[in-house]
Structure formats: C-alpha cells, structure tokens
Amino acid sequence: MATLLINDQTHELDVPDDMPLLWVLRDVVGLTGTKFGCGVALCGACTVHVDGRSIRSCITPVASVAGKKVTTIEAIGETSSGKKIQQAWLNVEVVQCGYCQSGQIMSAAALIESNPNPSDAEIDAAMSGNICRCGTYPRIRAAIKQASQSA
C-alpha cells in the first residue's frame, strides 16, 4: 500500500513497491498525460516533477516518491512556470504529433523554474534527454526563450 500525493490529491494505492511511477500514474490512477516512450529513461516522454524537480517516471519506483509531491502534465498549468511554458508552446506552435510534448513541457517548466533565463546552451543541455521524433526542437528552443522572457 502506497500513499501518494499527486497533483495535490492523496491516493492510497495497492501497488508493488518496485512498480514504476509511470504505470501507477497511467494504469492505476488513470492520468494518461504522462507517456510511455522507452521504459529505460532514454527518451523523456515520462517526465514528471517530484518536489518540483523533473524525473523519469518509467524508472522511478513508486515507493521512492511516497510522501513527496508529484506533479504531472495535467496539473503543471497551475504552476507559474508551467503556465508560461504551456502558453509559449501554443504561441510558438511547437506541437506536432504531441506524444512527447508532455515530457518536453515538464522538462522545460523545471528548467525555467530553476534557471529563469537559460542560454541556448543551457536549453540544449536541459532538454537533450527529451526526444521528439517530429523534430520540434527549433520551436522548443524558441518557446523556452519566449517563456523565460515573459514576466
């Protein structure tokens, strides 16, 4: 039995301790915005925040986040950084298929939360763990720039 705080809601869940947070979110809690891409932390599609820091939920055992604050794409718009990033994503028209974008947005929100004015190199470094097969990278860079410049 695990007690999880997800998007400010408490969940009592009967799941194995070693079950990755990704599958708890998607298959047990029903929050399908967080995506499965590779299962081994190579692609970033499963990125969520734990206590405000981005982690790969596909390799994070659920027991390790008990008592911590988990934020997913469904609630990132309630944070200031998340809202700015989502708006910039729409303004710049970043999205194509959209499958990786939950993870991209979670990584980008964590970036500008910790570094409000990232340089090009810092953006590339922070976002290099998130693969986009549609190739939206030029617009991800532009959107993060725009979000970091918006008050």
């Binding site: 190579l42 729409l90 298929c97 499958y99 763990g129 097969r133 190739g135 030029p138 617009r139």
Partner: protein, 733 residues
C-alpha cells in the same frame, strides 16, 4: 471513461472529440430519422460528396459536414492527425467554403468507410504519401460549398428573396438589402429538405480569407495539458493490460512456453499463446512486463535463423548485376554510353530503417461473441476494420474502430500487423485488453524501410555534362505486398519514385531500371519520404560526383541541367541565395546542396556541416527553399519542413537496422540513435509564392537532407558517402 461523448455545442473555441464517432452510432442516428438515409452512389473521385445524411438532429449534405439546430458545426476528418497538421488543414478547406470560423467547429475522426472517406489519390481510406492536401483540396472545399449553398437557398426561400442577393459569413446567412439574418442552426431543418446540388462553384483563390493564412492548429491546446487522447491512452472499465513478445527471428514460431513463474507474478492474470508470439495479460502494464520477462520461451526459429545483413547485401549485389524492369527509357543509353568522353560509375547502399515513433505500437480491443471494438491510432482506418473482421470471423459492420490521435506515424501506422495481433490476443481475453509493445519490441518487430542497392553510371561529354544516365535500383517491393494491384509487370513505381519520370535533369539518354529482391523473413514498408527518400539521396549525391568529375560548382552544374524545369531552378536559386552559397566558412565546415521534385513539391536545401578531427559530423545550419504550389497553412509547412529535416538528419547520421542470426541487433534509443535537441541545426525555410496546384509537404523535408549533408561532407573531407548511415565512416583510420 467512455470515448464516445455526446456532441455539445461549442461556442468559443474549437474542440476535438478524440475518440471519434463510431460507425454504429452514426448509422443509428441516421436511421432514427426514417431509415435508409445514407443515399447516393460513391466513387473514389467523388468521396462523400453525395452521401446526404438527413436526421432530425443534423443537416449533413455530405460525409464531412454536420450542422445541428443548436448551431454546432461538426467537421468529420477523413485524414488522420499524426502531427502533420492535417486536422487543421482539412478544416480550413471546408471552413473556407462553408463560411464558418475555425473557432466554431468541432472535429470528429471519420469511422472506417472506404465509400465515404477514400483518399481520391490512393483509392481507399488512407493518410500517407503526403497526399492529404493534394487529394482533399477540391473535394473538401466542394463539401463546404455545397452546405453553404443549401443553407443560403433555405434562407432565401424563407425570406422569399433571390438567393443571389444573400451571402454567408461566420455561420450566418444574411440578406443585406433587408438586413435579415439567420444563423446556420436555424436553417438546418429547411436546408435538409433541399436536394443536394450536383455542381457548385468554388471560390476564386484570390477571395480566400482562411486558406493561406497561418491558422492556429486545432489539436494543440489538448496536447499541452495532457488531455489529448492517443491510442495508448484508451481506458475502459474492466480493462486489462498486455505486452507481447513475438519470435525474435522473423518467420519463426512459438514451440513451447513455461509460464509458471509468470503466473506467480502479482497482478498477472493470463498468458496468451499465439502462433508466433506470447502475450502476458495483467492488471497493469508493469505486471504484464514482469510476467513477460519471467516466461521461459522456446522458439522454433525456422528457416531464417542464420540470416545476417551481410548475407542480404551480398545477395542484393548479385541480383543488381542483371538488367531490371525498365522504369524509364529515353534515347539510347546502350549506344550513348560507350561514345561518351568519360564514364563515371558508383554503387550506393541504403540501410533498413525502423520508424521509432514516440508512441510505441499499441491497440486496445474488446471482442465479444457478436462484435469487436478497437481503439487505436492508425493511418489506414478501413484496413484496421478489415483485419479485425478476418481475425474474428465477424462481418465488417460488427467491427467498430475508434481512431485516435497518432503519436507519430512516419509510415509505420500504414500497416495493421499490430492490430491483427492485438485482436488475436483479445479473442482469448475476457473483457477489453490494451496491448502495448515495449520499445524493444517496437524496434525489433517493425515493418522496415527496405535496404536499397543502387548502381549508377553516367557518360559525360567533352564539357562534362551527362549525355547518358543509367540508374538501376535494387530492393524489395512494398507495393507488391501492400497494394498488389499497383504492382504491374514487375515494376514497383514507388521503388523508382523520384528516379524515373520525376528526374528533373535534362539528359538525352536515360535508362532507369528496377530489380526486385526480397530479403528473407523481414517485412518491408513505408518510411517517411517513401521512394524519393532513397532515390534522391542517390541521384543528388551522384550528380555531385559528376559535377566534381567535370570540375564544376555543384550549383552551376545543376543549373545547366535544369533549364526545362523553372520551378526546380527557382528553389535551387532561392536556396543558394539565402544560404550565401560560395561565402567563406571555417575549414572544418562545408556546404552541400540537393534539389528534388517529389510529392508534387519542389524543394532545395543547402546544409552546412562541420566534421571534427575525430570524424564526428554535425549539421550546423540548413537553408530550405520550398515551392509546394498553393499553400493552405504556411506555418504548418514550415513546421513540417523543420521536422522532416530533423527526422532525416538522425537517419543519415546513425539510422540502420542490422540482422545477426536472424535477429535485429538494435533495441532502444541507445543503439537506434535519433537526433536530440543539442544536435539539431538552425533551420531556415523560405516559401515560394505560387498559384500552382498544391503539393504534399509531410515528407519532402526528409527526402533531400541526406544528400545535402553527404555533399557537404565531401566539401569538407573529400570523402564521398556512398553508403548510409554516415556513422563512423569519417573517423581517422
């Protein structure tokens, strides 16, 4: 969570019903108003145009438009959204003529129905080959115009005025002389009683107010907040989760499986045996994954257990030495070649490629004794229905397909192997089951882009210009498997697409041949850019070889051969100008050019590539000039070119699937490497203003980037890349 949601009026913004309308509810609704209301005779050339759907609830003059008394406007999307922006482009085509704002419309995915939703260019319900705008450009505008004319006629009759004196805008019909106005919703009942006109006049393009503007995409708001529903997000009451292992050797079978350890895993419910695969069903994906890992499986590996890439390539080399089926023959190459002042020859090779769409293959199925429901994202909706009918033995009308957003297609979702397998699994499972492949399964059981082995020869005259050109393509035939009627007289038109009639260069003697050679075991299929992706790499690389042999600048050399193709010349010149061709660069950086005509679109790109002392290749900047005729959504075109280039760079640098002992050697993104943001170049896209018919745009960006890169590598290092991927070919010995 149900996927069929009631239609609601949308007042302030566009909304997409991700689950789509089911065929069953669609038919029931229609029948409720009196039965037999899907009328008319359907031809691919007149898709949906005469399918009048009249109900007490909605006015549907064709298969694409439904307007209800509450003023809601629903557009049914014949093409599937996989990131290419087609939901928005298709909506723009209808809305332009229907005279509604995009903000007023609700979108629904079309149910499977080849009569109503066939792609006019491909003959059935399919999204692929960069055909959506070229194919739907006319029929969807006609669908919108037909509805508008009927609504105007209904209003004019009500007001007893001449319909020519009325006009429609933003969901209203107005009669300016009297100031009367009625919204579309108020006209639904009257319009539904009118005959559907056979012919309607379409707007003059100069009067377009929506087409050609950078409209905001309709699918994006839900893609930034986690609400968008991809196939993998289907959730049903009582649903189970399954993951699967197919025989690692293509063509092999399941011999036996010991599932005692798997069944002991908490949450595992069932182990399903198929002819060539095993699936584990559990309460969640984690249980299924752990159960799969705990299986002790014995495979009968079959005849392909020793196949390796080297064997396949060796066989292709042998096959390529004999003449092939003629795809194009101009003049007399056999005569002109020996008489040429100089002969240049080369062999080019291109690897098997996986798609690695971000959304791994998945399909949710519920089989009951009298029906089958499927939740999936697929490029071929009617084929999904057909394969389910075949596997279950149920008639087509008992199979419902809820098509979802696709988390990338790139051609992978033009095949329904994953659906066939999921339905076979679901037949053995009580209740709905979601089958999800691991990334490893996705890479190792893809339908691969074929390996191609090309032989080229050119005879040059005294000035170094080609007088004879012989290109022989050797590779498997996708069409022979995927669309057998299109494979005629041994010629696969896709395998030579870009190389035969599309070749833009003026050369007096041309012979293009095709040799079909099927690799043992593995299945080959469509990949972004299809035929032109491999042919343009070869042609544009070889043209550079000829320019070098003639000691000419690569752009000057192409200009001399493009005199008969003004549009090809136009994009080449624009790209050269914008890229600053000939301008200074550091010693480690070079420029390469490619020009192409594919999918009805002319495109030229110039890549600036840096090669480090260690042989690492980095693309710094790409300048692309595009002439795709009339433009529907210019921002989508730019986005598709950017994305297509990035897709192509990763493949050119590292993309290859190799086989050893009949097994694919790659597993995941660690060894099937794709481009990341820190490796992505600056990309500039320049659009040529044009009134020509619209061309496709989803794939052209991918097509020309590999040769532009390879030509740039030559400019830096002098080394010609005749085999993809580039990988470690430039590392010092």
């Amino acid at each position: 969570m149900g996927l069929e949601r009631p239609l609601k009026p949308i007042k302030d913004k566009a909304k997409i019903l991700s689950g789509g309308v089911s065929r069953r509810s669609f038919m029931v609704t229609s029948a409720a108003a009196g039965g037999g209301l899907l009328i008319g005779f359907y031809l691919p050339q007149s898709i949906g145009a005469k399918a009048q759907i009249v109900t007490t609830e909605a006015f549907g003059p064709n298969a694409f438009v439904r307007i209800r008394p509450d003023d809601s406007v629903t557009l049914v999307m014949p093409q599937v959204e996989m990131g290419q922006g087609t939901y928005t482009s298709m909506s723009m085509l209808i809305a332009e003529e229907l005279e509604v704002d995009l903000a007023q419309v609700t979108l629904e995915a079309a149910p499977p129905d080849d009569r109503l939703y066939a792609n006019p260019l491909l003959g059935f319900q399919v999204t692929g080959g960069s055909t959506s705008v070229p194919a739907m450009w006319e029929p969807l505008r006609r669908a919108g115009a037909t509805a508008r004319i009927m609504l105007i006629a209904a209003a004019a009759a009500d007001w007893n005025v001449d319909s020519m004196s009325c006009r429609a805008e933003k969901g209203w019909v107005a009669h300016p002389p009297t100031g009367q106005r009625l919204n579309y919703g108020a006209l639904v009942d009257a319009a539904a009683k009118l005959p559907v006109p056979d012919k309607v006049a379409l707007k003059d393009p100069k009067d377009f107010t929506l087409i050609g503007t950078p409209a905001k995409r309709l699918d994006t708001p839900d893609k930034v907040n986690g609400k968008a529903q991809f196939g993998i997000d289907a959730m049903l009451p009582g649903m189970k989760f399954a993951t699967v292992a197919a025989c690692p050797v293509f063509g092999g079978k399941l011999a036996s499986v010991d599932d005692s350890k798997a069944m002991a895993v908490k949450g595992v419910r069932q182990v399903v045996r198929l002819d060539n695969a095993v699936a584990v069903v559990g309460d969640h994906m984690w249980a299924a994954m752990q159960g799969l890992a705990a299986l002790d499986i014995d495979w009968d590996e079959g005849p392909n257990a020793k196949v390796s890439t080297a064997d396949i390539v060796h066989q292709m080399d042998i096959a390529s030495q004999k003449p092939g089926v003629v795809a194009r023959s101009d003049g007399d190459v056999a005569k002109a070649m020996p008489g040429a002042a100089r002969k240049v020859e080369a062999v080019y090779e291109m690897p098997f490629l996986a798609h690695a769409a971000m959304e791994p293959m998945n399909c949710t199925v519920h089989v009951t004794p009298d029906g089958c429901e499927i939740w999936v994202g697929i490029q071929v909706v009617s084929r999904a229905q057909a394969t389910a009918a075949q596997v279950t033995g149920l008639p087509l009308d008992k199979i419902q397909v809820h098509n979802h957003l696709l988390g990338g297609g790139f051609g992978r979702r033009l095949d329904v192997d994953g659906i066939t397998q999921a339905v076979a699994i679901a037949k053995q499972v009580e209740g709905p089951v979601k089958v999800v492949w691991s990334r490893e399964e996705d890479i190792q059981h893809d339908v691969y882009r074929p390996y191609y082995y090309d032989r080229l020869a050119a005879g040059l005259d005294e000035q170094g210009l080609p007088v004879a050109w012989n290109h022989r393509v050797t590779g498997s035939s996708i069409l022979a498997r995927w669309a057998p009627p299109a494979f005629v007289n041994g010629l696969d038109e896709d395998a030579v697409n870009g190389a035969a009639k599309e070749l833009p260069y003026s050369i007096p003697n041309i012979l293009v041949e095709y040799v079909r050679h099927e690799p043992p075991g593995l299945t080959t299929g469509w990949w972004r850019g299809v035929g032109p992706t491999h042919n343009i790499f070869v042609i544009e690389s070889f043209i550079d070889e000829l320019a070098a042999a003639a000691r000419k600048d690569p752009i000057e050399y192409r200009r001399a051969l493009l005199g008969k193709s003004a549009r090809a010349l136009g994009v080449l010149n624009l790209a050269a100008e914008k890229a600053g061709w000939g301008g200074p660069l550091p010693a480690s950086v070079g420029r390469g050019v490619a020009v192409q005509y594919a999918m009805g679109t002319y495109l030229s790109q110039i890549a600036e590539v840096e090669v480090s002392k260690d042989g690492e290749v980095r693309v710094r900047r790409v300048v692309c000039a595009v002439d795709c005729g009339q433009v529907v959504n210019p921002d989508t075109i730019v986005a598709q070119i950017e994305g297509g280039i990035i897709f192509g760079i990763g493949a050119a640098l590292w993309g290859e699937i190799t086989l050893k002992n009949g097994r694919v050697e790659q597993h995941n993104f660690n060894d099937y490497r794709v481009l990341r943001i820190n490796e992505a170049p600056l990309i500039e896209v320049h659009l040529v203003k044009s009134t020509e018919a619209p061309g496709g745009i989803g794939e052209p960006g991918t097509i020309g980037i590999a040769p532009a890169m390879a030509n740039a590598v030559v400019a830096v290092t002098g080394k010609r890349i005749r085999k993809l991927p580039i990988k470690d070919q430039l590392q010092p010995a």
